[in-house]
């Protein structure tokens, strides 16, 4: 019992990222560029990567995990969580440092990995179980249990391509859940499936954790982290920022990390020339009330709220998407909106120079609570995300304003209190007499 299940020592992973190349102006120039690209590739490979081509996805990570510990790993996107799991599950090699793992590892980075659509559910249980590291014997022993857990006995001999996506996920998790490794590495699997299924997954994880197995669990679901884990590690910019036996404290630190980076209140102003670029340099982000002035919180649920984004444009480019990401206090995304959401003829026109973009949030939408509005600006030259450049990252929460909503939930005297739910719209109800085809006839 004295030996730790996982010992990580100064682990680091470096990626070499491509440098942005100037794009030739003329068509002929671009053809020339394409012809020369193999040579360019060679010269890039020959020389040592320069500073700006290096990205350390994680560095100097050291910690130990005792047998039976359930460790939650949290951090923003890009903090190095997935890289850490990938290195620990041997999918990719570290650049430096080392890790020692004692015991059989089961890694679950995605549900349903390696399922063949042409094969039946039964066949996939064997193939998939094998891919995840079970022997044929083990799968055979657990076969009935897996089928039972997945709840798709009726379709077990149907090719998986005819399954609904929900059925696929259920089958995938059922296989993975019966892996019974000594050390389980799980990445954000609870983000899929319906509520009932997620509940089932959480229950199973709880079960696994309760049986003295070691679990490493990455999630953005803070509630799940608090419920499941006995310890949490906060990663920030590829390093361990906090490590503690009280997951709640670490989660709070994570949430606080977010807040400290953002200005409190309903207005953000660009302090200098941050995010400077030719397409849209944000100058301010605010939520203004009906009178056009920034309102300091709280709003009422039926108040007029307008999101106002101010910025400088040097080059007009319709591939620049400016918008926001609305999240609740725990960073769960509620909705995303950009000024290019409507049919393109309705897009507001941008001018060179100073621009103001604004949109009204629907009244009577959000429930009582605290919310965060993250600015999101991206330049996407193609719909498939190639050449995409994130100017301000909404997911990462670089620029955000906060507001809260209190009261105004309903005009009815009966319903003045907060009700359950993220949103609290007031719907119109109607009555009428049943027509000819009414039920029961």
């Amino acid at each position: 019992m004295s030996q730790p299940a996982i010992r990580i020592d100064n682990l680091g992973k470096m990626y070499r990222i491509g440098r942005e190349r100037p794009r030739a102006e003329s068509r002929l120039g671009r053809v020339g560029q394409a012809m020369l690209s193999p040579f360019e590739w060679l010269t890039t490979q020959m020389r040592k990567p320069s500073e700006d081509e290096i990205l350390w996805a994680m560095r100097n990570i050291s910690f130990e995990v005792k047998r039976g510990e359930v460790v939650g790993i949290i951090g923003r996107n890009g903090a190095g969580k997935s890289t850490l799991l990938k290195v620990l599950s041997r999918i990719t090699e570290p650049t430096e440092g080392q890790a020692e793992i004692r015991g059989r590892v089961g890694a679950l980075l995605e549900i349903g990995t390696g399922m063949s659509p042409e094969l039946t559910g039964r066949e996939n249980i064997f193939v998939n179980g094998c891919i995840l590291g079970m022997s044929r014997r083990e799968v055979l022993d657990k076969f009935d249990e897996i089928v039972e857990f997945s709840g798709i006995r009726k379709f077990i001999d149907t090719p998986v391509k005819r399954y609904s996506s929900g059925m696929r996920v259920r089958l995938g998790f059922a296989i993975a859940a019966h892996l019974e490794p000594e050390i389980l590495i799980v990445d954000e699997v609870l983000a899929v499936g319906d509520a009932e299924f997620q509940e089932k997954c959480l229950g199973k994880m709880h079960n696994i954790a309760g049986h003295g197995r070691t679990v490493l669990f990455v999630s953005h679901n803070m509630q799940a982290i608090e419920q499941l884990c006995s310890r949490a590690i906060l990663l920030r910019d590829g390093r361990v920022a906090m490590d503690g036996d009280d997951p709640r404290a670490v989660v709070d630190a994570y949430l606080h990390l977010h807040q400290s980076k953002q200005q409190e209140g309903a207005l953000w102003r660009n302090p200098g020339d941050r995010f400077s670029n030719k397409y849209f340099t944000p100058l301010s982000l605010g939520i203004v009330g009906a009178d056009g002035n920034p309102v300091n919180t709280p709003f009422r649920n039926n108040d007029e709220m307008t999101v106002r984004i101010e910025g400088d444009v040097r080059e007009i480019d319709r591939n620049t998407h400016i918008g926001f990401l609305l999240t609740d206090e725990r960073e769960n995304t509620i909705m995303v909106s950009t000024y290019t959401d409507e049919a393109s003829e309705h897009w507001p026109k941008l001018r060179e120079g100073r621009n103001v973009l604004q949109t009204r949030l629907p009244k009577r939408l959000l429930n009582e609570g605290k919310y965060r509005l993250h600015l999101d600006i991206q330049h996407r030259p193609s719909s498939r995300g190639k050449g995409k450049k994130v100017i301000v990252d909404g997911q990462y929460g670089e620029v955000a304003v906060q507001f809260s909503i209190v009261g105004g939930l309903s005009d009815s005297l009966l319903w003045q209190h907060k009700r359950p739910g993220v949103v609290a719209p007031v719907l119109r109800w109607e009555s009428g007499s049943p027509d000819h085809g009414s039920p029961g006839q």
Binding site: R90, I91, E93, A99, I101, A107, T113, G114, S116, C130
Partner: protein, 279 residues
């Protein structure tokens, strides 16, 4: 959960690393399932299913024997021309299919590779082994045709598996090299595709090796370095009693195959480490 559970150390590997074939052995179940899956998925939802395995070489054989045998009237070493082509077509198709399956195998399996660890060599291996099923079927059909036509193999028949093994190792060597290179350069898919087509003409598949050796004697040394030359001629020799019996010169080819195979395996192991970052 005892204290003697295996210890896995993860650290950056240096230099060319080790082959670590034990790892491969531990995952043999997966290899088996992968082969099985490949074969099964290939012929699902096809009206003719495995009949295709038989149809393909037969059709090619008919075309070749018509063009060369009837119209061009090449010599045929005293046996029906189409049988001479047919016997070569069976191992050749196996080789060509297995190589072409392996080339893109890593890239095609990216979804799994980026999410689960297993020895990546299983992928090109199962592509090659999967071809054996096709081979077994088309060979049985050939064997039947041969018997019906009154040709009964003698003791050299016992050598046939050796030639099959040579074909397999050659395909695997090609597969390991090109699958690794395809990760960086997708060009290799096309190179193998055209390469196998070209190689068919440099191998005595659709014509008799004697023709070549009689007409271009200066290049015979190079011509016979091709391992598939020995496979094709070996199939002819062991089954029909024509072609070239094994000779010492064949050892050169075998050595070439083994060197390519081992170097390919090392290259593959090296690529495997960074494959997820490259794809």
């Amino acid at each position: 959960m005892s204290t003697n559970s295996p210890i896995l150390t993860i650290r950056p590997s240096q230099g060319w690393g080790r082959l670590d074939l034990r790892d491969l052995w531990e995952y043999r179940d997966l290899l088996w399932f992968n082969v099985w899956r490949e074969v099964k998925a290939k012929y699902r939802q096809m009206a003719l299913g495995p009949v295709w395995i038989v149809l393909q070489p037969i059709m090619e054989m008919v075309v070749f024997s018509f063009i060369f045998g009837r119209v061009a009237r090449l010599s045929d070493e005293g046996i029906p021309y189409f049988l001479m082509v047919y016997v070569a077509m069976v191992p050749w198709s196996f080789f060509a299919n297995a190589s072409n399956q392996s080339v893109g195998s890593l890239v095609n399996q990216m979804g799994v590779i980026s999410k689960v660890y297993f020895p990546r060599m299983i992928i090109p291996l199962s592509a090659t082994l999967g071809g054996l099923v096709d081979f077994a079927i088309s060979f049985s059909v050939f064997f039947l045709v041969m018997l019906i036509m009154g040709f009964y193999p003698g003791w050299p028949f016992l050598m046939m598996p050796v030639y099959l093994l040579l074909a397999m190792l050659t395909a695997l060597a090609v597969g390991l090299w090109t699958a690794s290179l395809t990760v960086r350069f997708r060009d290799f898919r096309l190179i193998v595709q055209y390469g196998t087509r070209l190689a068919m003409f440099m191998t005595p598949v659709a014509y008799s090796a004697r023709e070549f050796e009689k007409n271009i004697p200066n290049w015979v040394w190079l011509y016979q370095l091709n391992p598939m030359y020995w496979v094709v001629e070996g199939f002819r020799w062991s089954l029909l009693g024509i072609g070239r019996p094994p000779s010492l010169y064949m050892l050169y080819s075998v050595v070439i195959v083994l060197v390519t195979l081992v170097s390919g395996a090392y290259l593959f192991r090296r690529t495997e480490r960074s494959i997820v970052d490259l794809l």
